[in-house]
Symmetry: C2
């Protein structure tokens, strides 16, 4: 068993070899009619998972996925993602309920209690108390400001992003070291840490032969915004902490996540996940789908050759579970590239056009000046085999686009704020004057 | 002229090709009898240089060196280095005067005014005012917490170090972008960013051929403390800012600096530089020299095979001048490895023993457990040719040890606090409880 050699807590007994196969998906879901109760139809075995940022897009879906499968879940969140919407005048396309209502409703329909701890992990007094009272076996750390445009609004947002993300992660590392050194950290990084090098992107490390000698070193990083850089910094800090303190970490360099649907978030309207389509938090794909739904041309930034890794949120939650069930060794920072397919912006526009046509939508495209500083035509070949080797069975975009995105965009299109679907944060114009009021809306 | 192609300000007209040769060292010094007045015997041509951290060890020597050579110098400093001594009960071996007395005395003996701006660059209101009022042609950024042990005292000191260093540098980048995009940033990094890879260390970048394709990428970084990591983060942030905003930066990955003597700091007792020998701010070499002077065995951490790059402070100040006079192109982060010789800890002990014997000192060594987490026997071969190609003529340790270190240790040995010459910060014990009171003294 993988867990034995790394000193996992005894109550953490996942079927490590092939966790997904051990529990057929049809039995493991949280369909309320089936009364998922945390022991039957699950493989979490009561292992305690703290999900920092568990009220966010990926965090919420992950919290429910794990809770439905027998893990004991605590959400730690300071509600900053909701605050950002308030600051910038944004809103999710889908109508989400409060974090408190979400966990109440989930308890009612699943019988599983999710603990909600509201506070800021940059406040170490709060984090200490949360950590010691819950005493997690695993910490899944989604709790960072995760928008590149947000980090480029102005100096204050750049500073906030790096402070919040870097210091929060240092605090988590110290909490693990001091309060439970056996706790496995599952940290969300981003594929954007790598930038767009002209060589293949490996999973975290690269073996280099140079002047006749060879070493395996951290893959060189070239983040393209203060947000992406904050995750580069985290990776370096975590790498050090795993070596110096012999703690265990899995760093998941995640691609662009899309989709609203997971089985659990669809189990009741109160559990619905957020859908961001604005110029700050919305990804190109999310925006394109909303634009298609409301009859606005898809806005392609520049040449559209920008290529990235993507995955369905139904795969995100499975990847997190796989990472938890196959913990890194003590002293190891294991790195997985967490995505399933690569697309260019032009690819996305083409797929949205094709799928939209099936629903009778007439999809056009328009090229607009790229507000980012990035290569618009470049080589991109990133590896992503490790999670598949551990059992990930991907959902693919051409199968899930209508079901998991277009259907929601059409259902909620009356909620679309047309002012929010254009880019408004220009990398070159990020300045020292406060730009909060105009950040979300192109002027 | 190098300056023309990168759009330097017109009043910045150094002799870029070989600045040191253009002004014989014997004429360029600040020997008070010769009345250095900022125009004669200089090549700075009135170029304005802001030195952040100009009251610190390297910063002070650099400020005087440049002021003596015709640069118009402003020191920006929040006196935090002196505050650290107050916090931890430390003191420099050499009796330094206040920053205010230093610049007053320098003005009297050289006729050159150095502006002193006391404030914190993490306070952007202060930095904006300082930057706009002085309007520098170059910013030399020494203004960071620079001790690895300090950063490892406890969580609070780790967080302080990364916040202070990373946010301060982001603020400097925004100040340049917004207030004077032609200003050249000369940023002090550290050789410690690279760690101890098993391949040769190049100057900032490495060309990698992988799966049949080739790219030149940032050299992989493996910092060995939260301090070293803060400079890794700076390098990544600066690399992004140079590309996104087309600003010019030279990142100097400096080795371990030693020596008290520069021509200007020796020109009057009020100008003397600091000499740190304690377990927090003192380097192994500085400690060894003090231990030799007071008859204490040299304390070797572990096996003593730890190898690093070193340079004399007389070379530091020349390297900074060379970097200023040969600015990076706009959009470029130029990286130099700033050291002149490599030594292991055992090498240092041997040299101190040999040189000490010439002064009649009986030098013994003792091995103590290594408080750091680091390789104690490793390959180390770092390149440092670029600054030499630009005219650096090194001082070597075996020539300067007695003159620039041992003589001071002997002169001031009555000021040595024996409690401070042992290591007290253990990388493995860095915790969440405040450890300020015991950090400086082994318990």
């Amino acid at each position: 068993m993988t867990t034995a050699k790394v000193g996992r807590p005894v109550n953490h007994t996942p079927s490590a070899a092939s966790p997904r196969r051990a529990v057929p998906a049809s039995k493991a879901v949280a369909a309320p009619e089936k009364t998922v109760n945390g022991t039957a139809n699950s493989n979490g075995g009561g292992a305690k998972v703290m999900i920092i940022g568990g009220d966010g897009y990926c965090g919420w879906a992950t919290a429910l996925h794990l809770s439905a499968r027998g893990y004991k879940v605590a959400i730690v969140d300071n509600m900053c993602r909701r605050s950002f919407d308030l600051q910038l005048g944004l809103d999710t396309l889908t109508p989400i309920t409060s974090a408190h209502q979400r966990v109440r409703r989930w308890g009612e329909i699943s019988g599983n209690h999710i603990e909600l701890m509201v506070g800021d992990i940059c406040d170490f007094e709060f984090l200490s108390e949360a950590f010691q009272s819950f005493n997690p076996d695993s910490v899944v750390h989604f709790g960072e400001q995760r928008s590149a445009p947000y980090s480029m609004i102005d100096r204050q947002h750049a500073v906030f992003t790096q402070h919040n993300n870097v210091i929060g992660t240092i605090n988590v590392l110290y909490a693990i070291k001091e309060f439970n050194p056996d706790c496995h950290l599952v940290k969300l990084g981003t594929m954007g840490e790598y930038g767009t090098p002209n060589i293949d992107i490996e999973e975290g490390y690269i073996t280099i032969t140079h002047n006749g000698r060879t070493d395996t070193l951290p893959y060189p990083k070239q983040g393209g915004s203060f947000y992406h850089l904050s995750k580069v910094h985290d990776s370096h800090n975590i790498h050090f902490a795993t070596r110096a303190w012999k703690i265990a970490c899995t760093d998941l360099n995640q691609g662009v996540v899309y989709g609203v649907r997971t089985e659990e978030t669809m189990a009741h309207p109160d559990l619905i996940n957020r859908y961001d389509y604005d110029g700050i938090f919305g990804t190109a794909l999310n925006r394109f789908v909303v634009q298609a739904a409301v009859g606005h041309p898809l806005t392609i930034y520049g040449k559209g050759g920008q290529t990235r890794g993507f995955l369905d949120i139904r795969d995100t939650v499975r990847c997190i579970q796989i990472a938890i069930d196959n913990p890194a060794d003590k002293g190891e920072m294991r790195v997985y590239n967490q995505f399933t397919e690569q697309f260019s912006v032009n690819d996305l526009a083409r797929i949205v056009g094709t799928e939209g046509k099936k629903l009778g939508l007439n999809v056009e495209t328009v090229t607009i000046p790229n507000p980012r500083v990035e290569a618009e035509e470049h080589y991109y070949n990133a590896k992503c085999t490790k999670l598949r080797d551990l059992g990930l069975e991907p959902h693919f975009l051409n199968e899930g686009l209508i079901d998991s995105l277009l259907s929601f965009a059409i259902e909620y299109k009356d909620r679309v704020d047309m002012k929010l679907i254009k880019p408004a944060v220009d990398w070159r114009k990020s300045g020292v004057a406060d730009a909060t009021s105009k950040a979300a809306v192109a002027v």
